[in-house]
């Protein structure tokens, strides 16, 4: 791994570690929802899917 790669990983990790554990779980859930809708120009139902993720993680 190059120095740049290591630096990028470290910076990304630092940003994520600033979040509390539930927020990190929600971030993962958000990315999963987004990835499922990524191929759609107008992602139908994305708001509902994201709201569901928020409610499930932060009860």
């Amino acid at each position: 791994m190059s120095d740049n790669d290591a630096a990028l990983k470290e910076k990304t990790r630092a940003i994520l570690l600033e979040l509390a554990e539930p927020e990190r779980r929600l971030l993962s859930a958000v990315l999963r929802v987004e990835r499922d809708h990524l191929h759609m120009k107008r992602p139908h139902g994305i708001k509902e899917a994201l709201m569901k993720a928020v409610r499930e993680v932060l009860k």
Partner: protein, 692 residues
């Protein structure tokens, strides 16, 4: 994605069902397909595109006539036949088979037409080994290889330079973001801020206090305004792209008018100079701002320096400086009650010493003055230096401004000459259109600047509202939960935005670096190839120590640049896959997803000089994990063959069968003469032959 096998039936030149199996080994990753002009290389490229996306590229003539002519002529009235393309490929660890087909029918009057729209099916090999059909096949394919990306992977090498044209900027920017997985952050942030937070705010309004309701109402209004400004910006940026395309077309047309060609070239040169002067002007302004913020206070320090000098002079004249006795010395005498000569200090002496002690405070003054005096010469020198530097920068600024004015006048003059009716009506019309477009461009840029200001103000206000909503006291338990959810979503959106900028910067830097390496290795000229902040390809050259954009790069140069760009993209996507940032950061594999992508290129060496052909042939197979090259005999010859030969895993000939007499041709491959074009008594068609 790795392509495994293509099966085509009655598609364009290809009669009956035929297949190609693609090379997939790491060191033997090239499949080369040789074909005479018209044998079906472009048709084959389009077979991939049609199968996956149901459309064909602009290069394919008569796009609505997919049925092979021989198959069509064999049909009897009322008879039907099928055109189909089946592609087997490996993606994300699973094997898929996509099949698109359409049925044709011959009517009683002899006409042949498609019966309905083509249909697509997609099968996946399940863990059990059984084939299972994938629902919503088109969506699934779009997830594996989004439609907007195919021009990067399935392209005609003779037109690949389009990627570097002004008209393609937006597609390229979007394509790069999708391919290199930057888009997901942009979209996540937008969806969280524009959809999830307003929805949660609406819920908060329902359960929260009056204060919360008022804030949410204001937030709703500001979000509406924000959306309006964003839409306006998008529209204006699209306008700018359209204007840039139009200007490029007009300027190309101007270069074709003999009477004004030299004037147009001169104007390009002057425009380049003006751009360099403007960049210099900006650099000088930045230097001046830095100097002012660092040393600007010294401009007001002259009077203070004088006052300090005066105070020192006064103190010396009054005999206060240097101070005769230090206060600590007197304090010690009083404490010890013994003089330095050994005598005891009695009450009378102590009283005198105490009175004396009052005057010793002047030693503090002396110390302060000593320190200030030590600093003063340095400050005076810096002040002189500051004025000198400022004068120099002001001179440079005035010089650059004067030069820019002169260049503006020269440009005006050249514009007048180019548009002069004496050069003919066409020249005058083109210049008039150019002026109109330039005027529109200016107006749109002003509009963008104004809208950006308004957007910044709304965003600031929205942040303030959000801060208040985060911290207001809420009694209702449900409202407190919603408040907590809003805070969390905001934090996540902020984190994703920061990761977005990190990733975007990483992608741009690495792409730039890679393209620069490839380009410098391939190019004859001392141009520097980079990728801009907006992911645009940029070619610059050094003129007198100043980097200037290259105008009028040749088609071959643009093609090499575009190919190096595509190659670098594929390389970076592979690297992202291997690097897997997310796992290390503890949020799983969803953070950054890369991937392997094939390059399917029709005639990639057509317009290139020998040097370029060899270089492209050398580096393309090292960047992409799989390369499929379609080339004519001329395109494949010498340097290309010798550069690629060792990496060829599979090789095919599109054997053209034509009824034309004496059309027979052969192609020499691996030291053997093999049939290339053959005479036939039947209809024209192409047969795919594997070279063993």
């Amino acid at each position: 994605m790795k392509l495994q096998e293509l099966r085509i039936a009655n598609f364009r030149q290809f009669h009956g069902e035929q297949e190609i199996v693609f090379a997939q080994e790491d060191q033997k990753n090239i499949t080369v397909i040789h074909g005479y002009n018209g044998a079906g290389k472009t048709a084959l490229l389009n077979a991939f595109v049609w199968c996956l996306y149901g459309e064909v590229t602009k290069d394919l003539e008569a796009p609505d006539r997919l049925l092979n002519e021989a198959a069509s002529s064999e049909l009897r009235p009322g008879g039907e036949t099928t055109v189909s393309v089946r592609l087997r490929f490996l993606a994300r660890g699973q094997t898929y088979t996509a099949n698109r087909q359409v049925t044709y029918r011959k009517e009683a009057d002899g006409s042949v037409a498609a019966r309905g729209e083509p249909t697509l099916t997609l099968f996946r090999v399940a863990d059990s080994g059984a084939q299972e059909q994938v629902n919503n096949a088109q969506n699934a394919i779009d997830q594996l290889l989004p439609k907007r990306l195919y021009p990067f992977f399935f392209f005609n090498g003779e037109r690949v330079e389009a990627i570097a044209s002004a008209g393609a900027y937006e597609d390229v920017e979007q394509g790069v973001k999708t391919l290199l997985d930057v888009e997901i952050y942009e979209r996540s942030v937008r969806h969280l801020r524009d959809q999830v937070i307003p929805e949660l705010s609406r819920e908060l309004r329902q359960f929260g206090s009056q204060e919360a309701q008022a804030l949410v109402d204001e937030q709703t209004r500001e979000l509406e305004r924000e959306r309006g400004f964003r839409d306006a910006l998008i529209a204006n940026r699209q306008n700018l792209t359209e204007i840039a395309k139009e200007l490029e077309a007009i300027e190309q047309a101007q270069r074709r008018v003999e009477a004004i060609r030299d004037l147009v070239a001169k104007r390009n040169a002057v425009t380049t100079q003006k751009k360099a002067v403007t960049e210099r002007l900006d650099a000088v302004r930045i230097q001046r701002a830095k100097l002012l913020s660092r040393s600007g206070y010294l401009a007001f320090a002259g009077a203070i320096f004088e006052q300090v000098d005066e105070k020192v002079r006064d103190a010396r004249q009054k005999g206060e400086l240097p101070a005769k006795v230090k206060p600590q010395f007197v304090d010690d005498l009083l404490q010890e009650r013994t003089c330095i000569c050994g005598r005891n200090i009695g009450p009378a002496e102590a009283e005198r010493l105490t009175a004396w002690r009052a005057n010793t405070g002047l030693a503090d003054l002396e110390e302060q003055i000593a320190m200030t005096s030590a600093v003063l010469p340095g400050l005076r020198a810096r002040r002189t230096e500051y004025y000198g530097g400022l004068d120099e920068l002001q001179d440079a600024l005035a010089g650059a401004l004067a030069e820019r004015r002169r260049l503006d006048e020269e440009l005006d003059e050249l514009g007048t000459k180019i548009g002069d009716g004496g050069h003919g009506e066409e020249a005058a019309n083109l210049e008039r259109r150019r002026n109109e477009e330039r005027g529109r461009e200016q107006n749109v840029k002003i509009e963008i600047a104004l809208t950006t200001d308004k957007l910044t103000a709304v965003e600031d206000r929205l942040r303030e509202i959000q801060q208040k909503l985060n911290h207001i006291e809420l009694q209702n338990e449900k409202a407190r939960l919603i408040q907590r959810q809003i805070q969390a979503v905001n934090q996540i959106a902020d984190a994703l935005e920061r990761i977005y900028f990190l990733q975007k910067d990483d992608v741009r830097r690495e792409l730039s670096q890679r393209i620069h390496e490839i380009w410098s290795n391939a190019a004859i000229k001392e141009y520097r190839a980079t990728v801009t902040e907006e992911f645009r390809l940029d070619l610059k050259k050094n003129v007198g120590g100043i980097e200037q954009p290259v105008f009028g790069a040749s088609t071959g140069e643009k093609q090499v640049l575009a190919l190096s760009f595509v190659g670098s993209l594929v390389w970076k996507a592979r690297k992202n896959e291997e690097r897997n940032v997310g796992e290390a950061a503890g949020v799983g594999r969803d953070l950054v997803v890369g991937g392997e992508y094939p390059l399917v290129m029709d005639s990639p060496f057509g317009a290139l000089e020998d040097d370029y052909r060899r270089k492209v042939a050398e580096w393309i197979p090292t960047l992409a994990s799989q390369v499929i090259v379609m080339a004519s005999k001329t395109q494949w010859r010498n340097e290309v063959e010798s550069a690629m030969r060792d990496r060829i895993g599979r090789e095919y000939i599109l054997e053209l069968h034509t009824p034309k007499a004496q059309a027979e041709r052969t192609i020499e491959l691996r030291g053997r003469e093999l049939p290339y074009v053959r005479e036939t008594s039947g209809a024209e068609q192409t047969l795919i032959r594997e070279v063993q």
